[in-house]
C-alpha cells in the first residue's frame, strides 16, 4: 500500500523529517506515537501534499506510484485521505456542496458515476449516522462555528464519504472528551476493512484503547526510533517518551 524510504522534509528551510522509513500493507493499522514537536504531524502533511512542506529527499510509493510527484488533489483521487488535526473553516461554502464537489471529482477521475444533488443527499443521510452527526450541520458552511468535536466528527464523516484506500489520521483524538472520542474511534473502526489501511498519528495512548493497531511506531526528532506491536503503546503510557531519549541518542550516534 505505502512505502516510505529515507524521507527527509522541511518547512521554511528547517529540516523536520530526518530519514523516515515505513511500510504499510493493505488492511493494517499503524499507530505513530511521539511527543509534541517530534515531526509526526509533518509526516501526515507531507503524505497528503501540503504545499507548505517540502520533501527534500527520499521516496514515497503509494500502490507503486511516486506519491511525491502527485498534486494533492491527485493523491486524494488515488485514494489517500488526510483527517486534519485542525480542520479549516471555509465560510460561504456549504459542507454538503463541498463534499459532493470532492466526491464527484474523485469519482470522475476514477471513471465512476457522479452523483446529483438528490442522490448525494441520500448517500449523505446514510453516512452521517456513522459519526452521530446532526444532518443540519452539513447544510452550514464547512467547519464554521463547529465545536472541536464536531470538526473531528466531520473529518470522519468525510472519510466515510470518500472511502479512501489509505487514511492518515492526524491526532483525531486531540481536544475530544470521552464521549466524542468513543464516537470518533467507533467511526474509524467501522470503516476498517481488510483492503484499507490506516496511519493513526497520536500523542496519547488512550485512543488505542478503542482502535487496536497492528503496528506501533515511536516517532522522535524526525524519525521512527522504535517499532513494535500494540504493547509498545502501553509501554509509552506507563513510562512516557523520556526513557526513549537515550535510544534516540544512541541511534543518532550510530548514524
Amino acid at each position: 500500500m505505502l512505502e516510505i524510504k529515507d524521507l527527509h522534509a522541511s518547512i521554511g528551510g528547517v529540516e523536520i523529517l530526518k530519514g523516515v522509513n515505513l511500510l504499510v500493507n493493505p488492511g493494517e493499522v499503524h499507530a505513530i506515537m511521539g511527543p509534541n514537536g517530534s515531526g509526526k504531524s509533518t509526516l501526515a502533511n507531507v503524505l497528503s501534499g501540503n504545499p507548505s512542506y517540502t520533501a527534500t529527499s527520499g521516496q514515497i510509493l503509494f500502490e507503486g506510484k511516486d506519491l511525491l510527484s502527485m498534486l494533492p488533489e491527485n493523491r486524494a483521487r488515488a485514494g489517500l485521505f488526510l483527517c486534519f488535526q485542525h480542520p479549516t473553516e471555509v465560510p460561504g461554502v456549504r459542507l454538503d456542496h463541498f463534499m459532493r464537489a470532492g466526491f464527484n471529482s474523485i469519482q470522475k477521475s476514477n471513471g465512476l458515476a457522479e452523483m446529483d444533488v438528490l442522490k448525494f443527499d441520500k448517500f449523505l443521510n446514510e453516512k452521517v449516522g456513522i459519526v452521530e452527526m446532526d444532518r443540519n450541520l452539513t447544510k452550514r458552511s464547512v467547519n464554521e462555528g463547529f465545536s472541536g468535536g464536531e470538526k473531528k466528527r466531520n473529518e470522519i464523516l468525510q472519510m466515510a464519504i470518500f472511502d479512501p484506500k489509505l487514511s492518515i489520521l492526524d491526532e483525531p483524538d486531540s481536544g475530544l472528551d470521552v464521549d466524542a472520542l468513543r464516537i470518533v474511534a467507533e467511526g474509524i473502526n467501522y470503516l476498517r476493512s481488510p483492503e484499507k489501511s490506516v496511519i493513526l498519528v497520536t500523542h496519547y495512548q488512550r485512543i488505542l484503547n478503542y482502535i487496536v493497531p497492528d503496528k506501533v511506531h515511536i516517532f522522535m526528532h524526525g524519525r521512527i526510533v522504535k517499532s513494535g506491536g500494540k504493547d509498545l503503546a502501553s509501554e509509552i503510557e506507563s513510562q512516557g517518551y523520556d526513557h526513549l531519549e537515550n535510544l534516540d541518542e544512541s541511534l543518532q550516534s550510530s548514524l
Binding site: 507548505s52 488533489e73 486534519f84 479549516t88 470532492g102
Partner: protein, 448 residues
Amino acid sequence: MTERRTTQESAYLEDLESLEKNVYGSDPSWARDLRKAAMSKFQNLGFPTARRGNEEWKYTDIGPVAKVKFQSFGSDVQSLVNAKNVESFSLGEKSWSQMVFVNGSYVEDLSSVSSLPSGVMVLNLTEAIRSVPELVQQYLAHYADYEANAFTALNTAFIHDGAFIHIPDGILVEEPIRLLFLSTSKDEEEPVSHPRVLIVVGKNSKATVIDGYVGVPNGRYFSNGVTEVVVGDGSRVEYYKVQQQSDNAFHITNTDVSLGRDSYFSSINIDMGGKLVRNNLHVLTEDEGSSCVLNGLYLVNGTQHVDNQVIIDHAKPYTTSRELYKGILDGKSRSVFHGSIIVREGAVKVDANQVDKNLLLSDQAEADTKPAFWVYCDDVKCGHGAACGKMDEKAVFYMRSRGIDEKTARGLLTKAFVSDVIQSIANESLRSQIDDLVQFKIQEWVDR
C-alpha cells in the same frame, strides 16, 4: 512640457444651450428653470479635480472624466441597438416591466411596461414632466442636492428622459420594475448620458426596482446618473443597482433616499464593470422607526477603480441601518469604501452597523476603507468592521486534499467570500442570475 488639457465645464454649458433651443423647447418653464439653475451651479462648482484637503475625493482622481469632451448628443445610436442586445443585457424575468434607455434616451420600442396594478405610474420622465407636472415637481430634485454636488448638478442640468415610478398609497407591486440604461458608441464617439430616476412610493406600499447600467464592450462613455427614492410611511422598497459597463467606461451615480416612518429600504449595489466608478449613496431616515440595509459587491480587475461613498443620516430616533460591502480585487485594481454614519442630536436608540471586507487576489491591488462616525447622541449602538485579506491558502489545501483541483478550489473560495452579499438579494431569480454572473466572472479570472 506635455500639453495639459483643461476641464470641460464650459462645453457642457454650450451643449445645454443647444439642447434647450432644439430639443427641450416644449418642456414647462419650471423644468427649464431647474436645468438652468443646476447648470449655473455646475459652472460654479466645477469638477472636483482638486484632491488635496478634499476628503471626499482623496482616493479618486476624477481628472480623466473632467478632461474629456464627451458628446452630449451624437448620431442616432438607437439603430445600433436591437431587441436582442437588450435581452442579452437584461436581468430578471422577461415578463417583468422594463424601460430601456440608450445613451440616455428612452426607447419605447425596446421597452415593455405592463401588468402593473392600477394607479401605478411607470413613465418616461419627459412625458411625466409634461403630463403630471405637479406630481413630478413636488419631488424631482428635492432629494438629490445639486447645490453642493457637481455631478448631481450636471445631471440635473440635463434632466430630460429618465424613469418616473410612482406607487400610490396601499399598493403592493410584487413584480420588480426594471430600468436598463445602455451605453453604446459608434466609431470614435464618446457619448455622455445623465440617467435620471425618480421613485416615489406612497404609504404602506411596496416596490422592487432593478436599475441596470450596461454598455457595449470596450466602449468609452460616461454615464452620470442620479436616482431619487422617496419611501413613504410603512412602505418597503428593494432597490438593486447592477453595473456591468465596459472596462473603459466612466460611471458616476448619486442615489439619494428618504425614509418615512416605519419604512424599510434595501439597496444592493453591484459593480462588475467600469474603468472609473464612483457611487454616492445617501440615505436619510426622515422619520422614526425606519430601517435600511445597504449592501454592495464589487469585482474589479486590471486598472479598474471603484469608489463607494455611503452616508447614512440617522436624523430620527429608533432608526436602524446595516451595511455590508464586499470587494474582490485582482490585477492593479483599486477600491475605495468610505462609509459615514451620522446620528443627529436626539436620535436615540439608533442601531447602526457597517462592514467592508475585501479579498485581494493580487499583490498590486489596493483597497482603501474608511469608516466615519458622527454621533451627536449618547443612547445609540454603532459598530463597524473592516478587513482586507488574501486567499486562505489553508482552505485551498483543505479543498485540494478532498480531490478538488486547485483552480476550482480558488474559484469556490473567491465566490464564497461574497456569498453573503449575494444571499441578501431577496428576489430569487435575480439572485440566481447574479450568482451565475459572479461565478462566471470569478472563474474567468481564476482560469486565466
